[in-house]
């Protein structure tokens, strides 16, 4: 079985060393696009801004998956498990500790740390246990389903951490928003436009850091492992360590998405970890282009927005269309939408 699928086209690109030019990152179209997004509140209504922020929230999970899948060759169905875990963690923290700036940001931090710890544990088991290819997908899917099944049965008062009830299938709700300490007595609540700005700043940082990471020798080593694990091992690379690190990185980004989602809607439910939910990031990344961070970001926002529009007619129609787009893209453009388009334009 050939695990290094569709690598012929990408192999030459992987061999070229990227030029190290710090100023060049400013001219990256994606950076400009994110920067331009700061002006969206001028053109959209309040609902539109909130919706846009919602779509952006998911991009972190997509970036994480693109890094793991496209660059590391690890297909994880576990993004939503980390998403949910971090969301619940934020909820438990803030409901217990109140809505002061310190406690909310502590909640964010603890959610991320918890994700890191779990990813470390799970990744250690996977990569140091010799689990490969598809089996990684199955293990991560199993973990996700265990979480969902477990959280769905936590109804009743005995399932509570401090004063935070887990509430079973209905999920937790009424978490406070993030805030920053203000000049006067009042804190600045990060809601509406401020929330959007915060998400955009985070996206910019995450995008640049990920890009830098994947362009560094770490990223290139990772690609070498994806192309041919045996060859990489012969060259003296400890492939397990590299794969574990990128797994932790990608999973923690999914956790960031989960926290922001919980903050945005002030609720989190077990169904956000279900079978359909856990495949959504895979759809976005596969459509956008798994080796293109920009593609993953744009596809996530565009497809989520499209589903939101279609949900008016019923969620079935949105999912059918999502499936059709996915099928067409996989069959005709294996590299994903954005890389294919880019190649077409650069040829002309």
């Amino acid at each position: 079985m050939n695990t290094t699928d569709s690598t012929k086209a990408a192999a030459p690109a992987a061999l070229q060393m990227p030029a190290v030019q710090p100023w060049k990152s400013l001219a990256d179209p994606m950076v400009l696009l994110i920067a331009a997004s700061f002006f969206t509140p001028l053109f959209f209504s309040e609902g539109g801004v909130s919706n846009f922020a919602y779509c952006l929230i998911w991009t972190f999970a997509a970036i994480g998956l693109a890094a793991m899948w496209g660059f590391g060759g690890i297909l994880s169905f576990g993004q939503t498990a980390f998403f949910g875990l971090a969301g619940y963690c934020y909820g438990v923290f803030t409901i217990n500790l109140g809505d002061s700036p310190l406690s909310t940001w502590m909640g964010v931090l603890s959610g991320l740390l918890l994700c890191m710890a779990l990813a470390c544990l799970l990744g250690y088991m996977i990569f140091y246990g010799g689990i490969k290819d598809v089996f990684i997908g199955i293990v991560t899917l199993s973990v996700t389903l265990v979480f969902e099944t477990f959280m769905a049965q936590t109804a009743g008062p005995q399932w509570a951490i401090g004063s935070a009830r887990l509430n079973g299938f209905n999920g937790m709700s009424s978490m406070p928003s993030l805030s920053l300490p203000g000049m006067g007595a009042d804190n600045i609540l990060l809601e509406g436009n401020y929330f959007l700005f915060m998400v955009l700043v985070m996206l910019m940082v995450v995008y640049l850091v990920t890009k830098k990471l994947l362009g560094s020798s770490f990223g290139l080593t990772l690609e070498a492992i994806r192309e041919n694990p045996h060859r990489a091992e012969m060259l003296g690379i400890d492939i397990r360590r590299y794969q574990l690190l990128i797994f932790i990185f990608g999973s923690t980004l999914a956790g960031l998405s989960g926290i922001l989602y919980t903050v945005w809607g002030s609720y989190i439910t077990p169904s956000s970890m279900g079978l359909t939910a856990s495949a959504m990031p895979i759809i976005w990344v596969a459509i956008g282009g798994r080796r293109s961070l920009a593609g993953a970001i744009i596809a996530t926002v565009a497809l989520l927005n499209l589903s939101q529009e279609l949900v008016v007619y019923g969620s079935q129609y949105a999912l059918v269309l999502m499936g059709l787009i996915l099928l067409v893209v996989v069959m005709t453009m294996p590299a994903g939408l954005l890389p294919t388009l880019r190649e077409k334009f650069s040829k002309q």
Binding site: M1, N2, T3, D5, S6, W69, L75, M125, G129, G130, I131, K132, D133, V134, F135, G137, I138, V139, L141, S142, V143, L145, V146, T149, F150, Q153, L275, T276, A279, I282, I283, A286, G314, Q316, Y317, L319, V320, M322, G323, L324, L326, L327, V330, M331, P334
Partner: protein
């Protein structure tokens, strides 16, 4: 007498769980083991089998014939899907996963739109029998034996027929088989159709015991996956011990701590089995 009843009731639970795991896994195992393709549309073949069985049985066909029709229809749909989509993705493992998942999503949601949330089911045949204080469904008690029969039939198919020899030759070395004049692409489509047909058969056999809904595939796909992964790539040597072991864990946990513990226990067991035996339980028998 009560001891006997308790033992039988555990055996019944175990058999139920074993049959469910085996029947739902076989189709997936054949396609994965023989072709190395992960078919995420597996659950939709199960649904297809169940729906056709229910519809034809309602139309007046005797139940066994209706079940056969269900399985055959699923096999035909499988052959079409292989021709249209899977064939083009043989060397692209991840893409075949994503593409079959897309097919599954489209089918499931289209069924929801056109066929509604559920259709009226069939009544379970053969009634029930009583033992001590408990009452058992005869049909469910028979299912493990059906599962074993299907396994035996598969064994005969793979080891006693020409198709079986060709199929095994193709898995072992597709290039070599091709050189010797085998039309491997035809073997692949037949194998995919066989897998789809087995999935349809699972749906057909369970049609009288469940409510058929368009999303019923997802309740089959998780047990199917865990069994195949626990068993490994070897179809017969993998599925049988894996279903036996997992069925034992699940029924034991369910009896001791309830349904949810059974589910969670099943998934956790799988994670540990993969950790300890990355190639599956079937591999234990291969070492010799």
């Amino acid at each position: 007498m009560t001891l006997f009843t308790t033992i039988y009731s555990f055996l019944y639970q175990f058999g139920d769980s074993f049959a469910y795991l085996t029947l739902s896994a076989l189709g997936l195992a054949v396609i994965f083991g023989m072709m190395g393709v992960i078919n995420l549309a597996h659950g939709e073949f199960v649904m297809c089998g169940a729906y056709i069985t229910i519809l034809t049985a309602k139309a007046g066909l005797p139940l066994p014939l209706a079940m056969l029709t269900g399985a055959m229809t699923a096999a035909c749909v499988g052959a079409i899907l292989e021709y249209l989509i899977v064939r083009h993705l043989y060397n692209r493992l991840f893409d075949s996963i994503v593409a079959t998942w897309a097919v599954s999503l489209i089918t499931q949601q289209t069924m929801l739109i056109f066929a509604g949330p559920s259709i009226e089911g069939l009544s379970t045949p053969f009634g029930s029998f009583e033992l001590g204080d408990y009452s058992f469904s005869t049909y469910r008690a028979l299912l493990p034996f059906f599962a074993i029969t299907v396994l035996a039939a598969l064994y005969l198919l793979f080891f006693r027929t020409n198709y079986g020899i060709y199929a095994r030759a193709t898995i072992q070395n597709a290039q070599m088989a091709k050189c010797l004049g085998l039309r491997t692409s035809r073997i692949y489509s037949m194998t995919f159709a066989l897998g789809a047909g087995l999935a349809g058969l699972a749906g057909a056999l369970y049609a009288p015991t469940i409510t058929a809904v368009p999303t019923m595939g997802s309740s089959f796909i998780v047990p199917a996956f865990v069994t195949v992964v626990t068993g490994g790539a070897n179809v017969l040597l993998g599925v049988l011990p894996a279903a036996g072991f997992l069925g034992f864990i699940q029924s034991g946990m369910t009896a001791a701590f309830g349904q949810l513990a059974g589910q969670i226990g099943l998934l956790i067991t799988v994670i540990f089995v993969i950790r300890l035996l990355p190639k599956g339980m079937g591999h234990l028998f291969n070492r010799r």
